[in-house]
Symmetry: C2
Subunit: 329 residues, 2 copies
């Protein structure tokens, strides 16, 4: 691989089945920071149990990982050859109907929250609902609270109208941590041009997903096609809005993807065809970010642009996102 080993890499969405082996891959792959999902369908107490599990890993594997709290932690991790781990929620169940829990979660290290996950939530509409009525009354309040605290609003699994609403309502730029342009691969989880333009115009970030269902050709998607898509997105909304959010679910059993889809909201029969698809051969683990960097260079990005896309853009975004409170006028 031709990628420079000192490149600062940030992956702004992962949900691996973490273990010492994965932490060692993060180290070997030179990944300075990851945003990890600690809850999908969990309530507050269940989310706390997941934080407890991570606390145990931080204690046992402190030579490899540490809890990320501020953007400076990304630089520190890079300098120390460790990985800063920022927590995120893919849905708002952990805050129940209690806005005070946003600050509690923030104090415990949560730095990202999706306002909805596929379905309607108390805050916003999910991308699989037939109708999207936009951000709710409580959603407006929670956006203000997230802005105050410095918790990133993530609309990856939300509907388009809700996403446009959130971009407009939020006093800080927001993120779509893991999705691709719908024009490249037309699935509802990918995002239309209108959303991408609005996101970038407001200073927000798009993390490109490597989850096969978000890729043209799925598992067979080529590195070249993926990187050409990144280049076209750069032409559309600029390089500064682009990063990676791989959605890597390494080592997860298929029961997990069934649970992601179904939670406990349906009594319908599970779809046996729902399994984790194979990753593209050029991105199977945290060892493979160099392949993406190489591919981006090959489609014409400069070294500085590659650095930006694989890490420095997220670092810039997190610096302002986690910084001092931004209050609504």
């Amino acid at each position: 691989m031709t990628s420079r080993p000192d490149r600062l890499i940030v992956d702004c969405l992962q949900y691996c089945n973490y273990s010492e082996a994965v932490f060692r891959q993060l180290h070997a792959g030179g990944v300075a920071a990851i945003h990890v999902t600690i809850a999908y369908h969990e309530d507050f107490r269940e989310t706390i149990a997941n934080v407890v599990r991570w606390n145990g890993w931080f204690e046992r594997f402190g030579d490899l990982i540490f809890p990320g709290r501020q953007a400076e932690d990304v630089r520190r991790a890079h300098a120390e050859g460790r990985t800063a781990v920022f927590f995120g929620l893919q849905n708002c169940f952990p805050i129940e109907d209690d806005i005070g829990l946003v600050e509690i979660c923030h104090t415990l290290g949560v730095r990202f929250m999706q306002l909805s996950y596929n379905n309607q939530s108390l805050l916003a509409t999910g991308c699989y609902e037939a109708n999207d009525a936009g951000i709710t009354r409580m959603g407006r309040e929670v956006i203000r609270e997230m802005n105050r605290l410095g918790m990133v609003i993530d609309m990856s699994h939300s509907g388009d109208r809700s996403t446009l609403d959130a971009i407009e309502m939020s006093a800080r730029p927001i993120a779509i941590t893991h999705a691709n342009p719908r024009s490249w691969h037309p699935v509802v989880r990918n995002k239309p041009e209108e959303v991408l333009r609005s996101l970038a115009a407001s200073g927000g970030m798009l993390g490109f997903s490597l989850y096969p269902l978000h890729l043209r050709g799925s598992s067979a998607c080529s590195l070249e096609d993926f990187c050409a898509m990144v280049a076209r997105t750069a032409d559309l909304i600029g390089v500064a809005a682009l990063g990676l959010g791989t959605d890597l679910c390494q080592n997860q059993p298929d029961a997990v993807v069934q649970w992601m889809r179904r939670g406990s909201w349906t009594r319908g029969a599970p779809d046996p065809s729902v399994v984790f698809p194979a990753q593209p051969t050029w991105f199977r683990s945290n060892l493979d970010f160099g392949n993406i960097a190489t591919g981006l260079s090959a489609v014409g990005f400069s070294e500085a642009e590659v650095d930006a896309i694989v890490g420095l853009n997220w670092l810039r975004f997190l610096t302002t996102s986690f910084g001092p409170p931004v209050l609504h006028p």
Copy 2:
């Protein structure tokens, strides 16, 4: 009052009905730090609700109070004319039967936990039980975890054997944040000489209580008698182990003391005589620490000793208590 206005005051146990008025009294009284109880009988989720309430106060009254996390916050509060608020639990219900919740509570600002409150707990025996079998199996584990994190073990409401066990088992000095010598006023909540000697010999701290039921003569206890008792305790175990933990419950309705005693563990009829007793006239609020300082001078303590008892001893103790992890060999 003859007390120096620049004296650094620490009150290591309060459970007032907090409000802007009380926060202004803390400011006017020059109180640099308080340890406040945020749970007696509350479970984890209920304790979180109490943290949320405090977070709201920190936001609204940031000119008067802020969340204390480290011992340095006491000095900072003193310099800024504000009050650092350290959270404490009077019982271990908030950690349920889950040792991982100790770290969660610590991250949220909890810096003190009593291992039991009057009754038997999962960790230790309370002072009103007929038989005290000492620290339990889980109690040993939680002591180690509190030692690791830097959370103070408080045995104010525990039985004597459990207290002696905790002093011996803990790798860090422990505290009895609010009690007096039993020899002065023989109630079960006050502590026998054996406990006080062992506490001080291990570097622990005793916070003198101003709760009338812990005072000889109750509400009628004189400042002179109280301060003479402090002097005798200094003769017994040294000045360095002495501080204040007033147990001030200002503005609390009597329903609260009924609830403190009864929680939800008994179906017996409430005792209508259980009400908050009147405070001694010389200690009714956070404005009155100067009276205690004056009284301590009057019984012969030097200025430096008065400074130590009303604040600097706790500051020294907290510096080591909250410092880097102390692990058991």
